[in-house]
């Protein structure tokens, strides 16, 4: 079994004006390719810090985090940017769409960052938007879309450049139950193709059933990892 993410002895502390907060302490976690890993645990236990390190947007203090066998800390900051642009897709709790761009332009951003011609990128974005059920709405601005629709646009944006890992921080907690489930179905069906892996941070117990594995965190530690826990 090959690994998408391998974390070994990760630690991360924050210095908040003299007071040291240990957000990650001695984290060991493997995420196999093609699987959906959920990180769960009480607020403040370090979930967001962990996926930030995994996604390469935050540096750990010590330990190693490898993505597809690549240790990001060995890369120059430019190579790291390229790596993120190519291999990682992001989904946020607050959607984080650019308000001045329409749905298709938002979805096209990762392709443009990877150097694709704008016109072509927008065309591909429109195609993908119809796959997530928003084909008709590609000209809409984020403010003209519902929360669920915005999160679909965000998922399309996370997928468009065919990344190998998608990281999601609380993707359903801004949505009602029904919409949250729809978004999870979408993530599970569309995102988890082609050996792609997903890491989803959540404390929404209603969506645990979508996970292949659930890693439970508390106070900066991983206290247990369960396989397909509540699958029915």
């Amino acid at each position: 079994m090959s690994l998408a993410v391998r974390c070994q002895n990760l630690t991360k502390t924050y210095d908040t004006g003299g007071q040291i907060v240990t957000a990650l302490s001695n984290i060991n976690l493997d995420i196999p390719m093609g699987e959906l890993m959920m990180l769960v645990g009480p607020s403040g236990c370090g979930k967001t810090t962990l996926i930030s390190v995994i996604a390469g947007i935050l540096d750990q203090d010590s330990g190693i985090c490898e993505l597809f066998g690549e240790n990001l800390q060995r890369l120059s900051s430019k190579e790291k940017l390229k790596f993120r642009a190519k291999h990682i897709g992001f989904v946020f709790q607050a959607f984080n769409l650019l308000p001045a761009l329409n749905a298709a332009e938002n979805v096209a951003i990762p392709l443009i960052i990877n150097g694709m011609n704008r016109h072509l990128a927008v065309r591909k974005a429109i195609e993908l938007l119809s796959q997530v059920g928003l084909g008709e709405r590609w000209t809409s601005l984020p403010s003209q879309l519902s929360g669920g629709q915005q999160q679909r646009v965000a998922i399309a944006r996370a997928l468009i450049h065919n990344p190998r890992l998608i990281v999601c921080d609380e993707p359903t907690s801004a949505l009602d139950h029904e919409t949250g489930l729809n978004v999870m179905h979408l993530l599970k069906s569309v995102a988890l193709q082609n050996d792609r892996s997903l890491v989803i941070v959540t404390h929404d117990a209603r969506i645990f059933e979508f996970a292949d594995q659930v890693a439970e965190m508390d106070d900066g530690h991983i206290i247990n990892v369960k396989n397909a826990p509540l699958r029915t």
Partner: protein, 377 residues
Amino acid sequence: MGDKGKYIGIIMGLTFASLIMTQQPAIFVGLMSRSYSFISDLGLPDIWVMDTKVQFVDDIKPLQDTELYRVRGITGVEWAMPLYKGLLKARLTDGTFQTCNVIGLDDATLIGGPPTMLEGTLEDLRRSDSVIVDIDGATEKLGKPSPIPGGKPIPLKIGDNLELNDRRAIVVGIAKSTRTFQSQPMVYTTYSRAKSYAPKERKLLSFILVKTKAGQDAHELTERIKLNTGLAAYTQAEFKELTYQYFMHNTGIPINFGISITLGFIVGAAIAGQTFYNFTLENIRQFGVLKAMGTSNLTLLRMILLQAVLVGSIGYGLGVGLTALFGYATRHTILAFKFPWQLLVFSGAGVSIICIFAALISMIKVFRLEPAIVFKG
């Protein structure tokens, strides 16, 4: 939407700055060109000869009439004519006095007259006791008091009388001359009549106006005149420059304008920089998202600069447009206003510096931004 308000704020700051940086210098240039407009109005002579101590055109140090004949004798001189310029008191029909700028022209040729005649002709000066008055003087300071208290004065017309130094002067023409720093009415007459109006003194010749012979280099001739007469001689351009420099160095005008232009620049920079920076701060999460997704600082810099160029061009366009409008609206007033193309470059450079400054302080923030903020709630 709040963003729209911010945009308008930035553009207003830039518009204000570019307005101040265009309009104030335009007034300054207009005002400074008035310092030598008497020389400009008198276009025909190539060279002005005067006492060596003269510092600018209104600084009269009279010469003896005999100097005229010495200048006429110098090789390369096509003709040389006398010019009287002096401040004399005129008694108006209602008995009040008004100081006038009296210009005496060569009796035979009448060289040195006003640039434009509105009524009558220059030739009318050959009639006895005749004078020509400029329109601004005729309508304002030399006008007769209105029969209605507080009303506009009745303009001086052809046929009206003045008294200059107890001697009668009859208005035979109305002229248009460019405004100068001197606010007194211009009164044109012949040289000999001007001398009779002036208080009796040994020296009354203010300037000698010289035309160079064809093929004669003007500057070279000024050197020859200086050498032969011991007087000062300037080409028309040199005399304008002398006058302009005098006002630049000996009046508060440049400093006053310098202060208001600098203030406009600083206030504009502060408003635009501050709003632009706030704008960036409010959208910092979007920059974080782009950074997390792998956008380089260089690309973000380009985006910010593009924004700056956009608001900068709009603000600059509006500022310059308003300045032009201001110039148009005030074209018939006493206000000095000149808008040479160099001013566009000047204020354009000023607005560009403000925009670069505004973009730069925003850029520092974005450069230092940790992409990890994107996951913060």
